[in-house]
Amino acid sequence: MRVIPAEQITEALKDLAISANYDLGEDVLEALRNGRENEGSPVGREILDQLIENAEIAAKERVPMCQDTGYAAVFVEIGHEVFIEGDLNAAVDEGVRQGYEEGYLRKSIVGDPLRRQNTGDNTPAALAIDFVPGDQVKVTIAPKGGGSENMSMARQYAPAVGRQGVIDFVVNRVKESGSNPCPPVVVGVGIGGTFDLCARLAKKSLLRDLGVRHPDPFYAELELELLEEVNKLGIGPMGLGGNVTALDVHVEYYPCHIASLPVAVNMQCHAARHKTAVL
């Protein structure tokens, strides 16, 4: 058994929260630059230029690339041979608290959805824990902005709608979201599982680097087809018209009930932030 003190998770998360908000991933920058080459609209190209410049300013000046520094979606993968000493939930929240304070990140969480008092330190995190083989702990933070999260949706279909039904749902969701989620977007799609698990799959798919395809060729092909269809919509950067509506589409699937075909779309803006540390 390898023992990892919970404080190490706090330390790691604090740094990850700051870096995720200051340093846009190279995969996203690359996708924005490619988009710039393919964009037919002059306004669209100018917007993509601004986004690339913005990412450079944020990284250089050590400031958040977007003022919405998000809900702290935290994923912890714990190896079977690891014992975490201390309170993991508390350690995660403490990491978020310290990172959002020291990094001058916006505190965007209200403690109660109806009475809406800001918690003041961006906690609690939205924490998901998985157990995996090995003796390591992998900690990931994916700060999730409200603008794109609000455009997300889940549906329980009858199995008969099949592959085409899934495509129609995803494309329509992007269409309906229009200019709201800060296009160009990344579309996270979950298919299968239970109602709740399906949405979780959609969110998890967003942790994959842009341009990396699903390992199963059937789903890899579905991703490419979805990307092509979405980019035919014409929504373009900031919804003002153009060819680059999505930078990528990611799909994750899971076994499901014989009666069900759950589909969930988690919309992600171009500020597709996620950072990981392995302890």
Binding site: P64, Q67, T69, S108, G178, G236, L240
Partner: protein, 185 residues
């Protein structure tokens, strides 16, 4: 960026009249900043017959909630937030003289009707370009509702703030035009 129109705030009725959907502009002058909760408070106040904490006549409101300023910074990162959430409130403020709004994402019919009736224009800034936009902010002060933290009502002085006319005072709509031009079947 040379074809950007330079506009001095506050907007004049002539500015509003002449701005057309799709125009790229650089805005300089005073801007008020408010989002969901500040809008709710402003409109609740109007409904109770109270007086607004600032003179809204001719002004422009930027829908945003900046991140905290670091020492030495005027303001933290401050890109636009999604505008449809302000749709229930904007018509009331437009009727009181609000002439410009900056946010991101399309506005609903009631807002567009108010814009046409009273003469107002809606700009989009680039969502997520928050560090870049912060560079155009010269000064910042809290006007009201400090207790709302990032949602407090602020007044900014900006220079060459980049924006695009998304929906104009004549019903022109760049979102619709963009779709018409770029959608492929």
């Amino acid at each position: 960026m040379s074809d950007r129109k330079k506009i001095q705030l506050p907007l004049t009725p002539e500015d509003v009249e002449s701005l057309k959907a799709g125009d790229r502009v650089l805005l300089s002058g005073p801007l008020f900043v408010g989002r969901d909760q500040a809008h709710k408070r402003l409109v609740d106040l109007v409904e109770e017959g109270g007086e607004l904490p600032f003179d809204i006549e001719g002004e422009t409101i930027y829908f945003a909630g900046p991140s905290p300023a670091k020492p030495g910074q005027v303001i933290g990162s401050c890109g636009p937030t999604t505008s449809y959430r302000m749709d229930p409130y904007s018509p009331t403020l437009i009727a009181l003289g609000l002439r410009g709004m900056i946010g991101k994402g399309a506005r609903g019919e009631a807002v567009v009707d108010a814009m046409k009736e009273h003469g107002a224009v809606y700009f989009t800034a680039v969502g997520g370009a928050a560090a870049l936009i912060a560079r155009t902010v010269i000064s910042m002060e809290v006007v009201a509702y400090e207790d709302l933290g990032p949602e407090a009502l602020r007044r900014l002085e900006v220079a060459d703030f980049p924006a695009i006319v998304a929906q104009d005072a004549h019903g022109g709509n760049q979102y619709d035009e963009g779709l018409k031009e770029y959608a492929r079947s």
